[in-house]
């Protein structure tokens, strides 16, 4: 089982949502889940910090949500399908979130996708970056 989980860690820029991440991020992800209800979205928008206090998350997780730092949220156990609900509540497209996570302007990210996306070549392995 260790080797199953370890094998993914060689893939750059990627966090696999395994048991460790799921346990770490349970309350962060369940906060995101709550944003599927319009009333909860309104309450979150009205006072984000107060709304986040309803969930037993870590301060680091709350700060990452307030900063809309998606890579940090993922590192702290967030799963992208759950985190996308924050983006949706903010009125942003998935491409907008992707541009934030990849650190490029949304137009540049969109242009990269139109040009065929990020190539697999050179993005397969941390230990063998040329692969």
């Amino acid at each position: 089982m260790t080797s199953y989980n370890e094998a993914f860690k060689d893939i750059p820029g990627t966090v696999v949502f395994d048991a460790t991440q799921s346990r770490l991020g349970y309350h962060l992800n369940m906060f995101c889940m709550s944003l599927m209800k319009a009333d909860n979205r309104a309450a979150f928008k009205a006072d984000e910090r107060a709304y986040l206090a309803r969930f037993p998350m870590t301060e680091a997780q709350r700060d990452a949500v307030l900063a809309r730092d998606y890579n940090r949220m993922i590192a702290l156990g967030g799963n992208i399908y759950f985190l996308a609900k924050i983006g949706a509540s903010d009125g942003f497209s998935f491409q907008n979130l992707a541009s934030k996570m990849t650190g490029v302007a949304e137009e540049d990210y969109r242009a990269m996708m139109i040009a065929g996306g990020r190539p697999a070549q050179g993005n397969r392995s941390r230990t063998d970056p040329a692969r």
Binding site: P12, V16, R118
Partner: protein
């Protein structure tokens, strides 16, 4: 007796649903995507199934982290479109086929696939976008739909081989159902895409093309692909492709590809679409 007539695979990108719902199908960005389904819409109108077993994954809509079934079959009379954070899609309520769904549940469980039976479930873009791509924007969906949700969010998802074998069990179940029904199995999700982190935007046309080819000619080979290879080659969300193997396993070994479409991009994703027909 019921029989499986054909299989369809398609990506289920949420932005495709939004483009349809907002009337953007003629935009230069979206026009090539929808063009790839024109043949499919004509084809399905001529070969209308009574029931579609629609294999998809829930994206933290019906299932949160409270309950994570690996395979869940919808046995309800109907399934409402889910509110995914921006209100439910304005699409018809999905009408189920409880009798066939329960029959498939019983048959596959006795065949040692531990299905979760779901009597109440909202369905998200994973299920409704494929319906929109194949049927357009009707006032009511033209056939019954049995949702079959597969966990590909929480690791580990089922192996490709398990999915392929579940397809075999679904075929056996359908073919033992006494009513004379035309049934299709659709496998959705994919193709290459990564939505998370600094590697977001990964697309792998070579992997996708080989997968499209192999689905007809070498499904057993595809069924052996380990999870790590999907993530490495097709991006973290490319793992959804295991669901295509359920469709493939439900068809005859000598099923024939009659339509193929591949386009990059729809938002962050490589769109892939196949129609496979069983021999008559």
């Amino acid at each position: 007796m019921a029989r499986i007539t054909a299989g369809v695979t398609t990506s289920h990108v949420p932005a495709i649903g939004a483009a349809l719902d907002l009337g953007k199908t003629a935009d230069p960005y979206w026009q090539p995507v929808f063009k790839g389904y024109e043949f499919s819409k004509r084809w399905i109108a001529e070969h209308m199934p009574d029931v579609v077993v629609l294999v998809y994954n829930d994206h933290a809509s019906a299932f949160s982290l409270e309950l994570i079934p690996t395979f869940a079959i919808g046995c309800a009379d109907s399934f409402a479109p889910a509110d995914e954070g921006w209100g439910p899609r304005p699409v018809p309520v999905v009408q189920g086929h409880p009798e066939l769904a329960w029959h498939i549940a019983q048959s596959t469980i006795l065949d040692e696939f531990d299905m979760t039976i779901v009597n109440r479930m909202d369905v998200d873009h994973g299920l409704t976008v494929p319906l929109s791509l194949m049927f357009g924007q009707p006032a009511a969906w033209p056939c019954r739909v049995i949702p079959l949700a597969v966990n590909v969010v929480q690791y580990p998802p089922p192996t490709g081989n398990r999915c392929y074998n579940l397809g075999h069990a679904i075929r056996k179940a359908v073919e033992s159902y006494p009513e004379d029904l035309k049934v299709m199995v659709w496998g959705t999700g994919g193709m290459s895409h990564q939505l998370q982190g600094p590697r977001a935007g990964l697309i792998n046309r070579e992997f996708d093309t080989a997968f499209l080819d192999g689905l007809t000619s070498d499904p057993e080979g595809l069924a052996r692909i380990p999870h790590v290879d999907y993530v490495r080659e097709a991006g973290s969300e490319g793992i959804e492709l295991v669901m295509w193997l359920i469709m493939r396993g439900a068809l005859s070994r000598n099923a024939r590809e009659i339509h193929r479409f591949y386009h990059v991009p729809a938002s962050n994703t490589a769109v892939g679409h196949l129609i496979l027909e069983n021999p008559p």
